[in-house]
Symmetry: C2
Subunit: 135 residues, 2 copies
DNA sequence: GCGCTAACTGGTAATCATTACCGGTAGGCT
DNA sequence: AGCCTACCGGTAATGATTACCAGTTAGCGC
């Protein structure tokens, strides 16, 4: 019979742990560097691989910063529930926010223009209370 | 005395024309290919250069597709007026939309979380009326 | 029209993040 | 213990964007 569909490996956990302790969004390269510097080395390919499968599994969210960098963040237990993020552009702290009003608005606007199958991206970037105070 | 701060060159116009006739969003590579195929060749470096300066001048908008590609589009006469886009993911047709309600919502949410200096990205992707009908 | 100078051009090399390959490793089952 | 297969991870490849830099040219004064 075929072995388990999904093996549990040291590296798999390491990547997830890194995301957990990171707290906010971080790039694949960040995860790689973090693991490496804490002696828990994992191959770069492997990091990308796990990140990708976590995304597919809906366990992490992905956003592209305005600079075009792809960042990942461990999110919502089961990946259900569409939501957006309010990210501090200095410390990376992230707040999850819901925007039912926006979803509705988006759907309405799209319909007005005759568009179907609408999807959207929405991210807020700012400076969190602490970073604001620190100036 | 120093010559004009900004020269007008064949290539500069070519890039702008390409964006104009493209109508929707297109990547730098697309512009390059388009110009090249219509015999109006312009160096790739030059395309990027002009695209960048047009962005700086506020004459074109930039958005990153979910796939991470950077696309450009000639927009708003003088670059004034913050707005968003409703892009057809099949034909690229783009509608400019305003979302005062969203702007306001974003500001409110951010304030609630103590964030300042808030900025945001918002793009809608869908299938336009025509492409919808074509299925 | 002529010449000058600085801005512009464009081919090539360099960067950077991400993906593809592929021989080697090691879970998990029997 | 032994096998089968998914998983690892170093390296090469890719693709978009930027940096360099020598050659070209627009625009100004004469």
């Amino acid at each position: 019979m075929a072995p388990a569909r999904q093996r549990s490996t040291r590296q798999g956990g390491a990547v997830k742990d890194a995301l957990t302790s990171a707290g906010g969004f971080c790039s694949a390269q960040d995860v790689y560097a973090a693991l490496r510097s804490q002696g828990d080395a994992v191959g770069l390919s492997t990091v990308y691989r796990h990140l990708q499968s976590l995304v597919d599994a809906g366990q992490v969210d992905v956003i592209h910063t305005p600079e075009g960098e792809t960042t990942y963040r461990l999110c919502g237990e089961a990946g259900q529930g569409h939501h957006h993020h309010l990210v501090c552009r200095e410390c990376g702290r992230t707040a999850e926010i819901e925007g039912r009003a926006v979803e509705k608005w988006a759907a309405t606007v799209a319909a007005e223009h005759g568009y179907t199958d609408v999807d959207h991206t929405l991210e807020l970037f700012g400076r969190c209370a602490e970073c604001s105070a620190a100036r």
